[in-house]
């Protein structure tokens, strides 16, 4: 099998589609992760005097996260008030945010949530931030899920309206940054951010290679030649799966090395390349590779099941759309990608770690199961050179007769 894997690797390296995949992955890296926005988010906060970016009438010196229960509950109540006023709420539908009109029952749920928040504001010292988030989580469930109130979607940031507030926020940001650096959370945060963006390509592009991997035998008119040989399904399909999965993994691992090096270099973190490599390679292996291997296996399985490469590609695109939003906090088993669109928020990550681990473990197992399924379907087709005729017999009886005549 080792030699077969080697031969499959060589064939992949001759494929133009593979090089397109490399180009697209690099494109995602340079346009999504390695950008000036990322470096400013990862780097220390600006020490320049706060500037008014609003107007004279409505000054704005930036934003800050709510600092206590009262502020968080107040911002949340404000958001809910706007929803009640407009009579709509935003929902995620197949990856897109759409406005949905509120029913009477839903308006009542909003009113109850607002009244609960007011109760919390009145006796703020008796509650925790988590209690406040529970209010929005409950409302999200009452609205049928997938709303803007889903955990992790909304940060409820507050406007800074005076230079003093701006300066105070700057100090807080600097303190938070220093705390993050001293706790060793800067590079893991950057690695998570890297994986979040690269998952966008890992969740869809591998299928363009894998969906035609086994069908290539048919298009090259090699099926009979291969089916009649003594190679086992495990060795034949397994070698293709391992070779493609491995070479795509290498692409992402190399990008992770590049990401680690560039992050350390841009942020001037001298002597921390080793630590950065461990973080980037570790998160890539654990967050990205299950997505890559599942996409490879799904393409192979789908192409064997439907005998068309385009069907698994279309299904994968739908799966990708379903998985791509929200940007954080949703790690159900149907989510092909891990979205964690923040280089910070380590506390949130810690809360979701179990869900993420379960999701990734599930996808590792799923990849193996799908590859085994592809091998089983391949073996089934092996003694059915007339399989097309069998499948379509009811609609193509005349063509079936013609085929038999030709034989």
């Amino acid at each position: 099998m080792k030699e077969l894997i080697g031969k499959e690797l060589r064939m992949t390296l001759r494929s133009l589609v593979f090089y397109l995949f490399v180009v697209v992955s690099c494109f995602f890296y340079f346009t999504q992760y390695a950008t000036s926005e990322t470096w400013s988010e990862l780097g220390p906060p600006s020490s320049a005097a706060p500037q008014n970016i609003g107007s004279a009438e409505h000054p704005l010196y930036g934003w800050r996260a709510p600092a206590n229960v009262e502020e968080l509950a107040g911002r949340m109540r404000q958001e809910m008030g706007w929803n009640l006023q407009s009579g709509t709420v935003q929902k995620i539908r197949i990856g897109f945010l759409v406005d949905k009109r509120l029913s009477e029952k839903e308006k009542q749920a909003f009113a109850a949530a607002v009244s609960r928040l007011e109760e919390i504001i009145r006796e703020a010292d008796k509650y925790t931030m988590e209690d406040v988030y529970q209010v929005s989580a409950k409302l999200n469930r009452q609205l049928g899920g997938n709303t803007q109130y889903r955990s992790g979607l909304e940060s409820y940031e507050m406007n800074l309206t005076t230079p003093e507030e701006g300066l105070a926020a700057q100090k807080l940001n600097l303190a938070a940054y220093e705390k993050k650096v001293s706790a060793g959370e800067l590079l893991p945060g950057a690695a998570r951010y890297f994986c979040d963006y690269l998952a966008l390509s890992a969740g869809v592009f591998p299928v363009f290679l894998s969906a035609f991997l086994l069908l290539r035998d048919r298009s090259s008119r090699m099926s009979e030649l291969i089916y009649s040989r003594s190679v086992s399904r495990r060795a034949y399909v397994g070698s293709k799966f391992i070779a493609l999965g491995a070479i795509l993994s290498v692409v992402y691992l190399l990008l992770a090395v590049l990401g680690a090096w560039q992050t350390v270099s841009v942020l001037e973190l001298e002597g921390q390349l080793g630590e950065a490599l461990v973080a980037f390679l570790g998160y890539t292996a654990w967050w990205l590779l299950p997505t890559v291997w599942t996409s490879v296996a799904f393409g192979m399985f789908g192409s064997m099941l439907f005998r068309r490469g385009i069907v698994p590609i279309a299904l994968q695109l739908i799966w990708w759309f379903v998985s791509v939003l929200p940007l954080m906090g949703s790690y159900g088993l149907f989510k092909l990608l891990i979205r964690f669109n923040s280089p910070n928020d380590y506390a949130l990550y810690r809360d979701w770690m179990d869900e993420i681990a379960l999701n990734r473990s599930f996808y590792l197992v799923l990849a193996v199961l799908l590859a085994a399924g592809a091998a089983w379907l391949w073996e089934r087709d092996r003694s059915r050179a007339d399989a097309g005729a069998v499948v379509r017999r009811p609609r193509r009886a005349k063509k079936t007769s013609a085929r038999a005549e030709a034989l």
Binding site: S220, S230, S383, A385, E405
Partner: protein, 291 residues
């Protein structure tokens, strides 16, 4: 070593491609003749485990067809439409297919591939991409890949199509050498290939067995039914529709013709010794109800 086929049937819906064939084929080259739609390719695909029989059994050297893993190790197959990944070179294609045939030892593979490429005269093209090979070269590569793992049953479908006369002779010699201690099943439309290489042959027609036996004995069926005659071109034009003409060769102002007929067709017609081709055509015309 024997290939035993008992009541082998393959149906596609209501259409029966192969109908209850029973055969016993021993070592050596065995010809499989029949027109399009006779069931030759179906029979070969069944033996190569590419199709499941609707009923009946077959065994190669005592190994039943349902033991697919074992059968695949014993069979080498050259399909009618032979192709490999176009980006591969001749050597890469041979090596890949040998590996898929279970030849794990690299040195052994190389030795065997080198010998086969020499035998099919492709040594100089070993680094050439398959897509750059001529039709004849591709057929030779096809034959070599089917032999690479030294199968006990070699199944070759139309192997001489596209080969020039010299290549065809070389190919027959190659098959002859390879068939020692093995069974070679040669399907072809070219009667000459069967005549010059096969000791035994089978004729199929519309999925039914029409002849199975020694190649030379097929001619017995046509004995006394082959005639030759010489006639003027004008007479030839008038008479050509009356009897099945096997061949017509212009000779000076006239024609020398070879006719199939149960009785003397013309006063001057002379009885001729039937060839395999004559006998095969007689068999096919008899099946079609033509006299």
């Amino acid at each position: 070593m024997e290939l035993e086929i008992e009541h082998l049937t393959k149906s596609y819906g209501a259409k029966t491609a192969l109908n209850g064939i029973s055969l016993r084929i021993g070592e050596g080259i065995h010809g499989l003749l029949g027109p399009n739609g006779a069931g030759k390719t179906t029979l070969m695909r069944l033996l190569a485990t590419l199709l499941e029989p609707s009923s009946g059994t077959a065994a190669i050297g005592g190994v039943p067809l349902r033991d697919k893993a074992q059968i695949r190790r014993m069979v080498g197959y050259l399909p009618q439409e032979f192709a490999v990944y176009p980006g591969m070179s001749v050597l890469e294609a041979m090596d890949y297919l040998a590996l898929l045939s279970g030849m794990r030892n690299r040195a052994e593979r190389r030795r065997r591939i080198d010998a086969l490429l020499e035998q099919v005269n492709l040594t100089e093209q070993r680094r050439t991409k398959v897509k750059a090979l001529s039709g004849g070269m591709k057929r030779r590569l096809g034959v070599a890949q089917a032999m690479v793992h030294e199968p006990q049953l070699l199944i070759v479908d139309e192997p001489t199509a596209g080969l020039d006369p010299e290549e065809r002779i070389r190919f027959r010699q190659l098959l002859n050498r390879f068939s020692e201690g093995r069974i070679v099943l040669l399907s072809t439309h070219v009667v000459e290939d069967v005549e010059s290489t096969c000791e035994q042959m089978t004729v199929l027609h519309r999925g039914e067995l029409r002849y199975h036996g020694r190649t030379g004995e097929l001619t017995a069926a046509a004995a006394g039914r082959i005639w030759t005659a010489e006639m003027e071109r004008g007479q030839w034009e008038r008479e050509r529709e009356r009897f099945p003409v096997l061949s017509a060769v212009p000779e000076g102002a006239g024609m020398r013709i070879r006719i199939l007929a149960d009785e003397q067709p013309y006063a001057g017609a002379q009885p001729a010794v039937p060839t395999i081709e004559d006998a095969y055509l007689y068999l096919m015309r008899k099946e079609a109800g033509v006299r």
